[in-house]
Structure formats: structure tokens, C-alpha cells
């Protein structure tokens, strides 16, 4: 846990920086193109990607899980390639993620799943974590913190719980893989309000969706809009 002190953000460093990052296709499955992206504190990138499997691999590359053949991927100024296992994990603790597969461990209740990353990476007392989780859950339309296993929740409630888990703590970077799939207008508004709050506090956001409807009316609030194709990351016309 001491490692967390070593990865405290420097306000001048980009929250996420991909510099000619070229993943190794053999080991990752991500197309071996050169990816470039720079996100500073409070910025938001909306990325359209028809193949969400590819988007998940791109998010994996952003958190240093994919080996690079060339280039650099940096998070908060730290190059993943220079960090050992412990420091990499500590840095990943500063990133909130909503993953397409859910990433739920059904051995525990949903509340434990939500609190798990914070329980692992921090020493914040559990009652404080619980009250923060309850606050976020209520804002996203849940009656409280769900305690039943994730596989017994409805798909929409699981999505709400995934957003709560990603926003717990003070994430420096949010990686969202189509978090609002099939969401109602009410849920979308609550979610956008929370994302805006986090951005105001310096969190950078990467929001991926298969088409523009994935982020509703938020397109105008984004810093940059991109498309993820088989041959790399491209700016969208007019962004």
C-alpha cells in the first residue's frame, strides 16, 4: 500500500498518454497499429468502436495489460513498461473501470464486489467506503448497496453497480466500456452528472461505445471524439 504514495498524480502530467504505442498482435489480439492519445486532467475522450471486443483490448492497453512492441503508454506520467508488478497494480488502483464482461466475482455479494478494489488498494475505513458507495448507488437509482450476488441482479442494476464500483475512491482516470447500454434517460442523466463531478475534480474519462447513441447528448461536452478502427485511432470529423 506504500506504493500508492509513489503514484500520486502530478497535476502537470497527462492522466493518459499513448505515444506511438504499437501493441504486439500475437500476444494481445489488438491490431498492431500506432496509437496516439493524450488526456489531461478533467478531459474526456469519446471513442466510437463498432467492435467492443477491440475496445476492451484498447482499454487493457491503457492500463498496461498489453505488451507493446514499440512506443509508450503512460498513466499519470508513469510508463507502464518501467513499473514492476506491485507498482503497476497500485497505479491501476487509481483507475476506475466499467468492463463489458462485468468482471463480477459471484463468490461474494455485490456490495463486496463494489468495495473490493478500494478495500484492496486503500486503508480507508470500511464504514466510510460503505457510505460513499451507498451515496453513489442512490444517485444512480439503486435503493442502497445491493448485497445479493451480482448474478441475481437485473442487467440494469448490475450496470448501475458497475458504475458505482468504477467511481469509488477518487479515480484519476475512468475507462468506460459502453456503460450506458440500454439505459433510461433518468439513469443517463444521473450518470452524466457523476461523470461531470469527477471531471471537475480532475478525473480524465475515456468513454467507448459502438455508436454515438452510447453517450447521448454528452458529445458536445467531450474534449475529443475519436474512432477506433482496425488500423488505429482516428479523430472524428468535426471533433
Amino acid at each position: 500500500m506504500a506504493e500508492i504514495d509513489d503514484v500520486l498524480p502530478n497535476t502537470l502530467d497527462a492522466r493518459l498518454e499513448l505515444l506511438d504505442a504499437k501493441p504486439q498482435f500475437d500476444e494481445s489480439g489488438l491490431v498492431s497499429s500506432r496509437y496516439n492519445l493524450r488526456l489531461n486532467a478533467g478531459e474526456c475522450a469519446l471513442i466510437e468502436c463498432r467492435d467492443m471486443g477491440q475496445a476492451a483490448l484498447f482499454a487493457d492497453m491503457c492500463v498496461g495489460l498489453i505488451p507493446l512492441g514499440d512506443g509508450h503508454v503512460r498513466c499519470m506520467g508513469l510508463d507502464w513498461a518501467d513499473l514492476d508488478e506491485r507498482r503497476s497494480n497500485a497505479l491501476r488502483g487509481r483507475i476506475g473501470r466499467v468492463v463489458m464482461t462485468g468482471g463480477w466475482v459471484d463468490l461474494y455479494g455485490t456490495h463486496m464486489n463494489i468495495l473490493w478494489p478500494q478495500l484492496h488498494h486503500t486503508r480507508i475505513p470500511i464504514d466510510r467506503l460503505q457510505s460513499q458507495a451507498v451515496h453513489l448507488a442512490v444517485r444512480l437509482g439503486l435503493p442502497g448497496l445491493p448485497v445479493i450476488p451480482p448474478n441475481r441482479l437485473s442487467a440494469m442494476d448490475r450496470q448501475r453497480a458497475a458504475c458505482v464500483r468504477a467511481m469509488m475512491g477518487e479515480p484519476a482516470l475512468l475507462l468506460l466500456e459502453h456503460p450506458m447500454e440500454g439505459a433510461s434517460a433518468g439513469l443517463m442523466n444521473a450518470f452524466l452528472s457523476l461523470v461531470t463531478d469527477l471531471r471537475d475534480r480532475g478525473c480524465a474519462v475515456v468513454w467507448m461505445a459502438p455508436d454515438e447513441s452510447g453517450w447521448g447528448d454528452y458529445a458536445s461536452d467531450a474534449t475529443i471524439r475519436l474512432r477506433l478502427y482496425d488500423d488505429g485511432l482516428f479523430s472524428m470529423r468535426g471533433s
Binding site: 495489460l65 506491485r86 497494480n89 491501476r92 488502483g93 483507475i95 464482461t101 466475482v105 478495500l119 484492496h120
Partner: protein
């Protein structure tokens, strides 16, 4: 014509060597993984920062499951073993006029040789297979990768606490097994009048026949059997691919677990043969 026949032979030998090499490499791969993981767990367990809240939660849950879940099976198996082995040993040694050998034979055969194997098998069947299934499902479902993406290392969060919980369970269940088997055996013999000495004299006979080296070997067998079952089951669960399912995971994990129990027991018996 002769040249072609020689070429066929060379191709056949090469094919055999390829299969032999593939078999040896795949077998050795898991053994080396087990040795590496075993050493890694011991090294990580000594670091204070490893024992985070999530690791402690997982450790206590696994310990509760392994000891609490396995105690009934251990008691029943121990009672049956006591009924079978202790009673028969006492009866036949008495019949042969060698009753003074009772303690020595029981401590050697039952406590030193049979108990660690049976406790290992109980642990493997009752908890090891459960761990394998749980971790295998999480791996194939992509949850392990998602957890890694959140900075939660599955090695620290699952493999380490579960293996250490199995180690403690191995020792605990082993001692319970040995005591239960001896007591049930004594009770059966007493009921059948095959033995007339009081329980304290019987236990004293068993204890005094235990050699000094056995005070190390017996607990070591329990501890290392539990550790091997834990590491083997967790590693088998985390080593699955998307092509694996329960029908391929479970038999493979069971075979590996049984083999590791046997190897631990044979190595200790051979190296520390008093």
C-alpha cells in the same frame, strides 16, 4: 527402395520424439509452475503489505470452508480407519503374542503413513476441487483479467490466501484424524475385550514408540500435503484456457492433486525413514 524405408523410419522416430518431447514439456511445465508458485507464495506471505483486507477476508473464508467443511468427512473417515486398522492391529498382535508392538505399528502405519494421505485426499475432494472449479470459472469468464485490470492481483488475492488456508487445514485435520482414529480403535478393542489396558496406557504406548524424527515428519507431511493440494488446485483453476470446461478441468485437477499428495508423502517417507 531401401533409402525410402530408412526415410520412413526416420520420420517415425522423429514423430515419436516429437510426441515424447511434447508430453515431457507439458508435464514439466505444470511441475515447474507449482514450484515457482509455491516459492512465490512463501516469499509474498512474509511481506506485510501482502496482507491487505481483501487477502485477509479470502484467507478466513477459505480456512472456514476447508476446516469447517472437511471436519465431518475427516471424523467419519478417521472413525472407519480406527475401526478397521487399530482394532485389527490390536486384535492380531494380541493373537500373535506381540501386543507390545501395538504402539510402534500404529504410530508408523496409521499416524505417519496413512493419515497424511487420507487427509490430503479429503482436502483435495472437499475443498481443492471446489477451489479449482471457482477459480477455473473466474478465469474462463474473464473475471480474473478484469480484476487484474483493477490492480487486484489474482495471485495475491486468491492463490496465496487459499493455499495458506489449506496448509493450516492440512495440519488441523491431520491431528484431528490421528486422534479420532486412535480413540475409536481403542474403544472398539475395549468393547471386544481385545485390550484391557486403560486409555492413558494405550496412548502412552503409542507416544513412546514415536521416534524423535517423527515429531518433524508427521506434522511436515500434514502441512506440505495441504500446501501442495492448495497450490495445485488453485493453479490448475487459474491455468485453464477458454477451451476448457468442467469435464476437462476436474479430472486433470484431481489427477494432479493426487500425484502431489503421493509425491510429498513418498519423499518424506524415503528421506526421513527413521
Amino acid at each position: 527402395m531401401k533409402g525410402l524405408r530408412n526415410l520412413d523410419r526416420i520420420t517415425m522416430v522423429r514423430s515419436m520424439l516429437v510426441h515424447l518431447g511434447y508430453f515431457s514439456r507439458t508435464q514439466m511445465r505444470f511441475t515447474l509452475m507449482m514450484i515457482g508458485a509455491g516459492w512465490g507464495i512463501m516469499r509474498e506471505a512474509t511481506r506485510l503489505t501482502t496482507w491487505r483486507r481483501t487477502v485477509r477476508i479470502e484467507f478466513w473464508a477459505s480456512l472456514h470452508q476447508a476446516v469447517g467443511g472437511g471436519i465431518l468427512s475427516t471424523l467419519v473417515t478417521a472413525a472407519l480407519t480406527g475401526f478397521g486398522i487399530v482394532a485389527q492391529t490390536v486384535y492380531w498382535l494380541g493373537f500373535a503374542g506381540m501386543a507390545q508392538m501395538t504402539g510402534s505399528i500404529l504410530s508408523t502405519v496409521l499416524v505417519r503413513e496413512i493419515a497424511p494421505v487420507l487427509v490430503g485426499v479429503i482436502l483435495l475432494g472437499r475443498s481443492g476441487m471446489l477451489m479449482l472449479t471457482e477459480l477455473g470459472t473466474l478465469t474462463t469468464g474473464g473475471q480474473m483479467r478484469a480484476m487484474t485490470g483493477m490492480g487486484v492481483d489474482p495471485f495475491i488475492s486468491f492463490l496465496l490466501p487459499r493455499s495458506l488456508a489449506m496448509t493450516i487445514s492440512g495440519f488441523t485435520l491431520g491431528i484431528i484424524f490421528s486422534m479420532t482414529a486412535l480413540l475409536v480403535g481403542y474403544a472398539v478393542c475395549r468393547v471386544e475385550d481385545a485390550i484391557t489396558m486403560p486409555i492413558w496406557a494405550f496412548l502412552d504406548q503409542v507416544v513412546s514408540s514415536v521416534k524423535p524424527i517423527d515429531y518433524f515428519v508427521i506434522p511436515a507431511k500434514f502441512i506440505f500435503s495441504g500446501y501442495a493440494v492448495g497450490v495445485c488446485s488453485c493453479l490448475s483453476g487459474m491455468d485453464v484456457t477458454t477451451e476448457d470446461d468442467l469435464s476437462s478441468m476436474l479430472p486433470r485437477g484431481f489427477a494432479r492433486g493426487m500425484l502431489s499428495i503421493m509425491v510429498i508423502n513418498v519423499v518424506f517417507s524415503v528421506c526421513f525413514d527413521g
